[in-house]
Amino acid sequence: MNTYSLMFAGVGGQGSLLIAEITSLAAVSAGYDTKQTEVHGVSQRGGSVETHVRFDQVAKVHSPIITPGEAFAVIGLEKLEALRFAHYVDPKNGTIFINDHELIPASVADAEKIYPHETVEYLKSMGLRVIVLPASKMARDLGDGRMANVVLLGALSTILPIPQDLWEKTIKLRIPAKYLEGNLKAYQAGKEMMS
């Protein structure tokens, strides 16, 4: 397999687009042809956001859109969104990363009751490879819960063929100086969870 397809799923404001962008740029710096696309309605208002990233070590990437069933990884920043895009994962060789975190849609009646709290167990029962990370909690412990996205990025980086130094270089380019130190720690913590 040469084309790596990655699906980032989250809620507007969680920063799924940012880690998708960092992944793309790291892949580009590694010399891989890369495409990225984001699908959202009005993202700053708390709707679902999906970002597709595809890169290839050898050939050109044609479609920016991932086909369900082919993603090397699905990265869910919370459970419901992970579930919404879980069918994109390659059932044989793919991995679903899930932040152990629930964001209840505020605009759905009785959402708390009908929210799919059992997402992780369900996806595992479907025979899929699921890795659950307490990314929000780890990020809070590091000082800012909003860095959960970068914790997940750290975990993801361990299964991709992009050299480590390029990840850190790209994070430094993308994340404002003020937040850099915390985010590098979040990235490191995510990586360590996978070792």
Binding site: V11, G12, L17, E21, S24, L25, V28, S29, D33, T34, K35, Q36, T37, E38, V39, H40, G41, V42, S43, Q44, R45, G46, G47, S48, V61, H62, S63, P64, I65, T67, P68, G69, E70, L80, E81, L83, R84, A86, H87, P91, I104, P105, A106, S107, V108, A109, A111, E112, I114, Y115, P116, E118, T119, Y122, L123, M126, L173, R174
Partner: protein
């Protein structure tokens, strides 16, 4: 979302950037020496002008009052000798259509490219509309890039084409093209000398000299048709296996390359006028030819008219919505991709919401309480049609709220209230307001004045007091303006004052004659509002009786604790005060006061 571009330097001195299709168009316009850019925000076109403002202000970009104005300003600049870019979403071209249809009669002087950003799948639009048909009616050539690199290249080539044939050119993008990123080889800006403008009424005063101009339009179109046969926008990629050929355009080309790597391909980069001979020649070489194009069967119909028989198209790929590799696979019986997990688990939707602290909420709460019929318009307030408010009963297109309310009144529905945003009012609400007064309507209009074009990302507009480049500019005085139209009652109210809003709208409805309520308060996504320091509200649990009144404000910053107390997310609260206003026990206080 826009990020500053990253540059990648390569061997041999080429420079590449990882760009959105829209950013690549902006970059291309800059490189081609464009000196005037106008447009009106609309997804998926907005980032073009935003990129120009951020990175390439020497292209002289602006937000215009609406697309027709943008187009006309662009026409003036182009006949005046400059290279020009005008941007809009697909429905914007409906607004600009009057100018769009007549421009080919005079033709242009400096290069003129108009972006029509079509939205297959209607990710953020009220309809699916394939603007290649409008181009055909107007006899304007259409270019369709297939990736970010071509967005850049076709922008530059489009200006050259425009100058070569003295014709306006349409660059048609679609959502996926505009909103995907890819590597783009970029260049530097090349200044282009301004062309001379001669006062030539026989050319530029079209209505008077229309009979002279009419044959010229056909001459240009004939020349373009001949050009289409050999131009480099169209490309054959033959295959030794002659069983399947594909005619395609736009982003669909990428899906074809991925799903049908063994097919011969004719990629049309210029889709109007179409090359009859090229199409015939290509099709004669393959057993079966698939026509794969997003949107309407524009190419396909043309080919069927040429009586090419071995075609398959919309009947297998479908008409509605966006294409994708998965969709092509299913259509070609190459296997169905997995479906979302919906059995045994509850895949509940997550619809978009108004932002925390958005000033529109109080207006919808009031309209719901007053139980009136609401003639709505297009903007963030369109979400008022959804639960929990469900207080918007008609919405069609920009500016329609007022005319529809006047019509509903004529049909006996006198309890109708029209609502419109400031940007939409300026865009297309002014003639209908004047009409309502002129025709003695008892219209009640609420203008939601948040000093921004919120829905598309909080851009500046004439009611903001700032322009695209952030410079101070005269702020349209909406209340004086409405009074000048002859509206008898104009009241301004702070949009976060719940009770006052209800009372003001009630008075406006009771007023005999046309009335306007301006509900005022800035959009929370405006850069200066996002930057400001706010003291959040906080719930004092000892005083809270868990009556749930604050939840009925529907602010996403308010959630529940495990003990079922309301809790306010301190880093999200914009301190709008609305939840505190509804709390019967004053349990919601400014964090500072509480401390």
């Amino acid at each position: 979302m826009l990020f500053a571009a990253e540059q990648f330097h390569e061997h041999g001195g080429t420079m590449r950037e990882f760009l959105l299709g829209n950013e690549a168009i902006a970059r291309g316009a800059w490189e081609a020496g464009v000196k005037f850019v106008s447009g009106y925000p609309g997804t998926p076109s907005t980032e073009i002008i935003e990129t120009l403002a951020m990175r390439f202000p020497e292209t002289n970009p602006r937000w215009s009052a609406n697309e027709k104005v943008a187009f006309e300003e662009g026409m003036g600049a182009a006949i005046g000798g400059l290279r020009v870019l005008v941007t809009m979403k697909h429905v914007g071209l409906n607004v600009a259509a009057d100018a769009f249809m007549v421009f080919p009669y005079s033709g242009t002087n400096g290069g003129f490219v108009v972006i029509s950003a079509d939205d297959p799948g209607m990710h953020s639009s009220q309809n699916e509309q394939d603007n290649r048909y409008l181009a055909r009616v107007g006899k304007v050539p259409v270019l369709e890039p297939s990736d970010a690199q071509e967005c850049h290249d076709f922008m530059i080539a489009g200006l050259e084409l425009s100058e070569q044939f003295k014709s306006p050119v349409m660059l048609r993008t679609t959502t996926r093209l505009a909103h995907h990123k890819g590597l783009v080889e970029v260049g530097e800006r090349r200044e282009v000398e301004k062309k001379e403008f001669v006062r030539d009424a026989k050319r530029f005063s079209v209505p008077i000299y229309r009979l002279i101009r009419r044959p010229e339009v056909e001459k240009t179109l004939n020349a373009l048709t001949a050009y289409a046969e050999t131009c480099s926008f169209n490309r054959m990629e033959h295959n030794d296996n002659k069983s399947i050929g594909v005619v395609t355009s736009g982003i669909a080309y990428q899906y074809v390359k991925e799903v049908m790597p063994n097919a011969g391909v004719l990629r049309l980069g210029m889709t109007f006028p179409l090359p009859a001979n090229l199409l015939r020649e290509f099709c004669s070489q393959y057993e079966t030819v698939y026509v794969i194009e997003e949107g309407e069967p524009f190419i396909e119909e043309y080919m069927r008219n040429l009586e090419i028989a071995n075609l398959k198209g919309k009947e297998i790929f479908g008409l509605i919505g966006e294409y994708s590799p998965g969709r092509l696979r299913s259509a070609l019986a190459l296997g169905d991709p997995p479906k979302p997990f919906t059995e045994q688990v509850n895949l509940i939707p997550r619809p978009p919401m108004m932002c925390v602290g958005c000033g529109h909420r109080t207006v919808f709460a009031a309209l719901k309480q007053l139980k009136v019929t609401v003639s709505g318009d297009i903007g963030c307030y369109t979400m008022g049609a959804l639960p929990p408010y469900e207080a918007e009963h008609t919405t069609f297109c920009m500016g329609a709220s007022i005319g529809v309310a006047v019509g509903l009144e004529q049909a006996g529905h006198e309890d109708t209230v029209a609502i419109i945003g400031d940007s939409t009012f300026i865009h297309s609400g002014i003639p209908p307001l004047i009409d309502a007064v002129y025709n003695k309507s008892h219209l009640t209009l609420v203008i939601l004045d948040n000093s921004a074009t919120g829905m598309t990302g909080s851009q500046q507009n004439p009611a903001s007091g700032k322009n695209l480049l952030g410079e101070e500019t005269p702020k349209l005085n909406l209340e004086a303006f409405c009074r000048a139209t002859g509206v008898g009652s104009v009241e301004v109210v702070d949009t976060w004052q719940r009770k006052e809003i209800v009372n003001t709208i009630r008075r406006a409805i009771a007023y005999k004659g046309p009335s306007v309520v301006i509900a005022r308060g800035p959009c929370n996504q405006l850069p200066e509002i996002k930057k400001r320091h706010v003291i959040p509200f906080i719930v004092e649990e000892e005083l809270c009786t868990k009556c749930d009144a604050c939840f009925k404000v529907w602010c996403p910053a308010i959630t529940r604790t495990e003990q079922n107390f309301p809790v306010i997310a301190a880093n999200e609260c914009t301190s709008c005060t609305v939840c505190a206003q509804v709390c019967p026990t004053d349990a919601i206080k400014l964090a500072e006061a509480f401390a």
